[in-house]
Symmetry: C2
Subunit: 216 residues, 2 copies
């Protein structure tokens, strides 16, 4: 069993919101709810940062001061006793790596910024955005059972290819589009769903996977 | 950058050797050097265990007392500051999970035993054996650069598909069959090779990957 969890909204607050709050640039808190085109949204953010000469080291520092949601670190540690744990996020490594290190150093698959030699953000590299489902499809092909945890529309493709999908405080219309999704509104809900999936796996309920087996 | 490392022979000693030593069943130390057919080797091991009524809890306990090689935990922690780190091993989860937890809880992809309700090993499930290259191929397809670390013939396919291959105290004929392989005989060698790969990646030397990028 491999658990692939989203980061912002599930384990930690939205990082851009914290950056907007600390820098006083309210528009930096805009999300894909305000501007559905992620490329345009990022272009707008980069313009705002450049106009105020806000460089990556300052932004990373603000991001690194974000606290995980209460109980998130403990939830991850517990999940790791039942499964492998990975974090797949639309955020950026430069914003989230230090938080993830403090939470236990789980593998983090996220996007990265491009900077000039003075630390000014000049672009970005989208490695995970729109690709979470690829990560999961690949892991499934190797023969692993996947449990995905997410909270938003950008998790929909991931949910669709995962064997188990936990929708954490997700919008109703998203819930309606993921037929096998299970709803969670707190970490105890997540724990129960993970435990159930783990018990069923341990009981051999899903033993139709391609992994080579041998009985003596 | 994702670092995929073998476990036994690279980070910890051979677990079956420790089990052979503690139980006094010398034949349990046999490896694929003695019996190249892994299925036959495992069948032989299971026969030996059944004949002496050595059950999984006892074996797991012996395995959990194995110490990592000096410096292995520190090497993993350092590598995690430069890349994502995964362990892919032909060993069994029941033997290695507790050691990996003590080393930092990295994701471990290994095989699992099948037991009866009294803990007697009756078979196994090969999830990683002969599949390390699949793991790496999948991760590459998503757009990650892969550095593989291993020590034996069972790592050859993994080495072939990886972008960087570190052969740790590997046999000469294996070295000859991995043209892009880099030889390491201690952890300092590994550190230097990882550092070089990381620096080249950071310098943008490998920027022909399929990840979507945008320059503002």
């Amino acid at each position: 069993l491999i658990i692939v969890s989203d980061l912002e909204g599930v384990l930690i607050p939205e990082i851009w919101e914290e950056i907007a709050r600390v820098t006083g640039v309210a528009d930096l808190a805009m999300t894909t709810h305000d501007e559905p085109d992620f490329g345009k949204l990022m272009d707008h953010r980069i313009e705002l940062l450049q106009a105020r000469d806000l460089r990556l080291p300052v932004l990373s520092s603000i991001a690194s001061d974000v606290l995980p949601y209460p109980g998130a670190t403990e939830l991850l540690a517990w999940m790791r006793t039942k499964a492998q744990v990975m974090i797949a996020s639309d955020t950026f490594h430069e914003f989230s790596e230090s938080i993830v290190q403090r939470m236990g150093g789980y593998n983090l698959f996220a996007n990265t910024f491009r900077t000039d030699d003075r630390g000014r953000i000049v672009g970005y590299r989208l490695r995970i955005r729109g690709r979470k489902d690829n990560v999961i499809r690949s892991l499934k092909e190797i023969g692993f059972r996947i449990l995905a945890i997410g909270d938003g529309y950008n998790d929909e493709l991931m949910f669709r290819v995962a064997d188990h999908a936990i929708l954490f405080n997700a919008p109703d219309d998203l819930v309606g589009r993921v037929p096998h999704g299970q709803i969670a509104s707190d970490y105890e809900d997540i724990r129960q769903i993970v435990l159930d999936a783990w018990r069923r796996k341990e009981a051999g309920e899903f033993e139709t996977q391609p992994a080579q087996t041998s009985d003596h």
